[in-house]
Symmetry: C2
Subunit: 222 residues, 2 copies
């Protein structure tokens, strides 16, 4: 399978790229608004993987090109860039098996981080509203510490939650999550349940700030 | 320490009463709007504890009386009864070390459960707004399955999150949580962060509904 990480030069994009490259045979395409930057970061990922004895090709492209070639497209961009990123690739993703949304709208005050969803209810639903008709949208990978994921020395032992209205797409993305060693996908239901999933992210940041030794805290459900 | 569980005849009240009675020496007072009902349930808890070789006194009272006698008062009532319960006991809790809010506002549609906080932002903040001045309010115990807690055969291995603005009260309630075997309290910061804590409850219910074998799902942060 071909996975495009749009904004794959950022923290969570890098983290997912390294893990998928290490743990699976999927082809990883790094996307950026700046194709040169995407190629540079892709080379860095290849070098890091190589230093760990993992011989893998990871290529960089402009977002549009990465999206055009991929079966699964991950919007690894900040919440405030989700809409323009989807619009930029809209005519390239008609055939995609899934458009994946890990972004969360948050703000911060003196108390901590707070969930601030877009008016439609959640970033996942914003993506669904913005995406071309027929492109199945899945929310996933919100609640993962990018630092923890990007450090390939760390055993994850983490859960991630998957939401979406298209069962096949949800299953595809859940499988991609499960293929990362130490990561388990759990369903949280339809896209209408995405707000409760996304609001876990500011909670995790607050827990990280308030408790000793929990800098890269994640969550497991048992 | 004396702990009053207002609405202690309900699911989460029963669960906390049994665990504290089993695992600590704190005096447990069961409160209800109906004192007879409180006494009846308290007797049931004593019988259950006795059947497990735990010889403990648990007494039932009208909510006002339970609150009056307690150091820590837990509002183990549904979200829509929080305000009237606080108002009913307001002139009895001036000396309390902590007024504890485990309730969460939720509604349900065909997709699942959704977080519906009161206008002030969270139930914890609603309690703080309603409580007499100087009574420290702490949010805690939101994300625990009452069934799992009430089944004393189950080893918990769970976390619960504590929020509040009064450090002493937060510490007191955190300690009470930690004294339940297998339960760990983590701080999520000031009361202004309560919404992110409370919204974990509908998420857990959605996960329970969507995944096999997770009926009494709880959460751990690592």
């Amino acid at each position: 399978m071909r996975i495009a990480l749009l904004g794959g030069t950022g923290d969570i994009g890098q983290a997912l790229a390294l893990r998928w490259a290490q743990d699976t045979d999927h082809e990883i395409l790094i996307g950026s608004r700046d194709a040169g930057r995407a190629r540079q970061k892709a080379d860095e990922y290849v070098t890091e993987l190589d230093s760990r004895g993992v011989d893998r090709e990871v290529k960089g492209f402009a977002n549009e090109m990465a999206a055009d070639r991929a079966d699964v497209v991950v919007l690894a961009v900040p919440a405030y860039h989700v809409r323009d990123t989807v619009e930029a690739v809209a005519d390239r993703i008609g055939d995609a098996d899934a458009l994946v949304s890990p972004a969360v709208g948050m703000d911060r005050d003196e108390s901590g981080f707070h969930y601030k969803p877009p008016g439609v209810g959640s970033v996942t639903e914003l993506v669904a509203e913005t995406a071309p008709e027929g492109v199945p949208v899945v929310g996933a990978f919100h609640n993962l510490s990018a630092d923890r994921l990007a450090n390939l020395d760390v055993e994850l032992d983490l859960d991630t939650l998957v939401v979406g209205d298209d069962e096949d797409a949800v299953e595809t993305v859940g499988t991609l999550a499960d293929q990362i060693e130490g990561l388990r996908a759990l369903s949280a239901g339809p896209a209408a349940n995405a707000a409760e999933v996304e609001s876990l992210t500011p909670l995790l940041i607050n827990i990280a700030m308030e408790n000793e030794g929990m800098h890269d805290v994640g969550v497991t459900f048992e």
